[in-house]
Point group: C2
Chain length 301, copies 2
């Protein structure tokens, strides 16, 4: 995995943010704070949310889709940031595609990358070269522009996932943008990105949802929930996450998640058989391996 | 599930503690603190541990197995507490069986109950009537007598699991003992206990071990561990737990764990198929159910 060396900080005259929630809003706040961007135009579907985004200074002005102001913003933007849910990538790219100028850079913040690339490519055609995909690894338990923080990305990780059509100078500019927010920037291929996050983020969410439903469906569910303690609490914490968002992630990163889930289920099934035949030694071996990996990982974090 | 009303506090002249670790040691400290017990004799296999237990006041005196002092302690004990790993139940019960007097009560602290009952019954025969099984739901990340705390059980849950041969008065005495430590005492059948803890404690441990091994076995494991964040951290925290202890639990509570694991794997497989065929609506339904259950449970805790 490549780590980016610090790039010269770029100067952006006009940035168009599509989707002014926690993730996109924190990016524009950070860029304004760092003096990187002069003017931020925000676009979103809810007037209430956009009014709030303007009031909080997350964006300077709001524009709405299918208006001349929106088209003007696309035409004059130096950078367009896609920060709406990944499921809307194709529709949004179709909206902006005809108006994107040759010197405009496009980037995104989506938590899956192959699907965003495919959807964007289908809509943008050759202009896909201007789209540098990125994914900041940060979040909060609250959402919307009011949750946005100028320092959300300080010391956080950001993945940049270049594709074959990208130009090095453009990749460097997007890396520099993220570095200006205080983030540490890494480079990953689209496929590696999707496999890695399928394994350490998407899969645990699916497994935690399954455990909650398994316990809830049991005859003794009331007693089980009453007796569940700290281990259960930590294990299932992520099952409280947004069902809509995780449904979208499962659809958008389907192939990688299925591969991880199948690999995981093989490990679980293997442990099941060891318990069934009381293979004490191999069970201990596998538990020891898992425990030592977890202890080592915990020390590094 | 029955909750015990507060019982009159018993007076115990002589208590024999077999296994002077965190769980047993915290019980004797609490009982001494509450003025319930006059004299605590400790038995263990390691002289170093027992010396420490005496020095810390967890026990008043140490005796060693296969000595006349041990036999004398068994013969004169009002209460014998089995607090060694559950895998040793049969061997320890065979040691004490010939010397147990008719008015002596036996109890334990094991985290599985059917296996303890079966092992004890095999060794104790009719004297199983004097054995009231219990399980305190408390722990720390450290072990041994130095980890024992007089207030470990304050406001914690303790399960009492009576069996067909027990007398009500004996069950009440053991309930009263635990209430004297500050714990809230509940009654569960052996089978319900084992099913409940298989679901909310043992199963999550097995699943977390499997995830650590699945990620560790991957070609991208270094990058995956490097990129894993807070969700992964919480989900896998219990995978750092003692491999030996959890191997023993898996063997001792095998049937209940296999039943829970099979039920869980069905839920996981069902979600897998929904992702594979992109059944967006049903997936969202299941995620919503899990999320709302987790949010509701989190509020009660």
């Amino acid at each position: 995995m490549k780590t980016y060396i610090t790039q010269p900080t770029p100067k952006i005259n006009s940035l168009l943010l599509i989707g002014a929630g926690l993730i996109g809003g924190s990016l524009t706040l950070a860029l304004k704070h760092a003096g990187v961007v002069r003017h931020v135009i925000g676009s979103g579907r809810s007037a209430t949310v956009m009014d709030e985004a303007v009031r909080l200074g997350v964006v300077d002005v709001a524009v709405y889709r299918d208006t001349p102001e929106f088209i003007h913003a696309v035409k004059t933007a130096d950078v367009i940031v896609l920060a709406m849910p990944v499921g809307q990538t194709r529709a949004v790219c179709e909206l902006i595609a005809p108006h994107i100028q040759p010197d405009t850079l496009i980037t995104d913040v989506g938590s899956t990358k192959t699907s965003v690339y495919n959807d964007a490519h289908a809509a943008l055609g050759d202009k896909i070269a201007q789209f540098v995909l990125a994914h900041p690894i940060a979040g909060r338990e609250v959402n919307g522009p009011a949750a946005a923080l100028a320092d959300l990305y300080v010391n956080k990780k950001v993945m940049i996932c270049p594709h074959a059509h990208n130009h090095t100078a453009d990749i460097d500019t997007i890396a520099a943008l993220w570095q200006a927010t205080g983030a540490n920037v890494y480079e990953l291929s689209l496929a590696a990105h999707d496999e890695i996050f399928a394994a350490v983020s998407h899969l645990p969410h699916v497994l935690a949802y399954a455990l909650m439903n398994h316990v809830a469906d049991s005859d003794l569910s009331t007693d089980k929930f009453a007796m569940a303690g700290a281990g259960f609490r930590d294990f299932t914490r992520i099952a409280a996450a947004s069902p809509e968002m995780w449904r979208d992630v499962c659809l958008a990163n389907k192939d990688a998640i299925l591969a991880e889930l199948d690999g995981y289920l093989k490990h679980a099934q293997e442990l099941r058989e060891m318990i069934a035949v009381e293979n004490s030694d191999e069970m201990l071996e596998l538990f020891k391996k898992a425990s030592s990996k977890r202890l080592a990982w915990g020390k590094e974090k």
